[in-house]
């Protein structure tokens, strides 16, 4: 399973379709700057693809975190809530936001792969 990317600059690793990991991309954290606050969804909440599921804020700006796919939030990253700078220092690893149980796994096919996202974010 590879990582997929949304046009809203989230990544999703769906190696486990019952707990796919979602975070913001290297590009997104760079554009935001030093992250000082994250608002994470409540575990058990169900979202449709494209819904606002959280918020990430730097000193200078706030940005919504969108659901890259439909599903139910099964876990959130409490370590990120305690230390939001993890979104900058390790956005693809320790800085993950939440895990989601996919309700429509086929939506993954509509997301970008790394090559497509690289050129997308370079032109954004």
């Amino acid at each position: 399973m590879t990582i997929k990317y949304s046009k809203d600059h989230e990544w999703i690793n769906a190696a486990d379709a019952n707990a796919a990991v979602v975070g913001i991309t290297l590009h997104a954290q760079d554009a935001l700057g030093d992250v000082v606050f994250v608002d994470l969804p409540a575990v058990g909440t169900t979202f449709a693809q494209g819904d606002v599921a959280g918020v990430v804020e730097s000193v200078k700006a706030a940005a919504d975190v969108y659901m890259p796919v439909s599903g139910e939030v099964v876990e959130v990253n409490e370590a990120l809530r305690a230390d939001p700078s993890l979104a900058n220092s390790d956005p693809l690893g320790a800085g993950w936001f939440f895990k989601v149980k996919l309700s429509e796994p086929a939506q993954l096919d509509g997301l970008m792969d790394e090559t497509a996202y690289s050129s997308f974010s370079a032109s954004a």
């Binding site: 700057g33 030093d34 000082v36 606050f37 804020e57 730097s58 000193v59 200078k60 706030a62």
Partner: protein
């Protein structure tokens, strides 16, 4: 991302230097300006509080008012004592409209008995110069200085760094200034700024700005600082940003800028009134109970940033005001804000709720500055 068609952005004389330093450039006040350098907003903010930061503020408007009547003429535009400002000193001023609303806030310096040097906000400068020209252009020469850059060197080590290049500059005290040669550049220096720290603002001919900036950046204490940290530094210092915290719909009294209006211009003073909007502003000063809303400082009691335009409610759930600037203060390490609230909720210690994404974030009215200022008063 394709930008909408707009007037091409202007650049400052330091544009090439910003790009060389790796700055992220953004449109601001019609200019392409550095919002941050590779170190990032947080590091730049903290560096300025600890050592010294160099800011390019060349987008701001600089002008001279010249002639024997210049001070009296300029005083007729502001609720401020201009006439009695001694030569060599600087003061904060406010241009008002006929309703007492704030057209702009500014700094002015008495160069000579018959000459003032004025610095206004970049986004307001075209309108300000037209206003000044229209109202007092018959009484003095209004001379814009578009061929001058403006640099700010701010922080507790600013004086040490600048004095290495311009011995004697350390003797200036807060809100005074003078001419200095710095790295071969013809500079006019005031000891002032917009960060709450000790520091200097330096006006320099555009052609010499790059040389000056590189000489300052060569000092071990000095790093380049972008507009992002400039904003967080000024907010921690409790200073208003024109367009956010004050504008033509706010009077100086509502904006809690009473300190900027000297007694001589108030009711009972030797030169009371005689400025645009005087009836309204003096009535508000004379009868504080008539003022319906007031600018206050707020600190959040939870670690949730509260941003501009956020609605404020009383603990009973009534709308009582709105945030005009807000962020997590990098040095203060808590969310802070400036806001307008109904007068009965303006007392220090009052609890209010900010409505952030539908949830109430408790905040408390508190004194500003949030971070103690460290101006050098000798």
């Amino acid at each position: 991302m394709s930008a909408p068609a707009a007037a091409p952005l202007l650049t400052t004389p330091l544009n090439a230097l910003h790009i060389e330093l790796g700055a992220r450039m953004v449109p601001f006040a019609g200019y392409s300006m550095p919002v941050q350098y590779p170190a990032g907003l947080m590091a730049e903010h903290l560096h300025t509080r600890e050592k010294a930061g160099l800011f390019d503020v060349s987008h701001m408007g600089q002008l001279r008012l010249v002639g024997p009547d210049a001070a009296a003429a300029f005083e007729s535009l502001m609720p401020v004592d201009v006439i009695d400002l001694p030569v060599g000193k600087q003061r904060y001023g406010l241009l008002l409209n006929d309703e007492g609303g704030i057209i702009d806030d500014l700094m002015f310096f008495r160069v000579a008995q018959d000459e003032l040097f004025v610095i206004v906000n970049g986004a307001c400068k075209v309108g300000d110069i037209a206003h000044i020209q229209a109202r007092i252009g018959q009484r003095c020469q209004v001379v814009p200085l578009p061929d001058h850059a403006l640099l700010a060197l701010q922080g507790p080590q600013a004086a040490t760094a600048l004095a290495r290049l311009a011995p004697g500059v350390e003797k200036l005290v807060f809100m005074t200034g003078g001419n200095f040669q710095i790295a071969g550049c013809d500079c006019f220096v005031t000891r002032s700024g917009y960060t709450g720290e000790d520091g200097f603002e330096i006006s320099v001919p555009a052609a010499q700005a790059d040389t000056l900036a590189r000489a300052l950046l060569a000092q071990p204490e000095v790093k380049p600082i972008g507009l992002g940290a400039r904003n967080s530094l000024r907010l921690e210092a409790g200073l208003c940003l024109y367009g956010n915290d004050i504008d033509t719909t706010t009077t100086p009294v509502e904006a809690a800028l009473n300190w900027a209006m000297q007694k001589v211009r108030r009711t009972g003073g030797a030169r009371a009134g005689g400025f645009p909007g005087a009836d309204k502003v003096l009535a508000q000063l004379d009868n504080p109970a008539s003022v319906a809303r007031k600018r206050v400082g707020l600190v959040a009691l939870e670690r949730v940033p509260v941003r501009e335009h956020t609605e404020l409610q009383s603990e009973g759930g009534q709308k009582i005001g709105e945030v005009t600037s807000g962020l997590l203060g990098p040095s203060f390490d808590k969310p802070i804000a400036l806001a307008y609230v109904d007068a009965q909720h303006a007392a220090i210690g009052t609890r209010v709720n900010a409505i952030v994404r539908g949830k109430a974030v408790p905040m408390e009215v508190c004194a500003t500055p949030f971070v103690p200022t460290r101006y050098y008063r000798g």
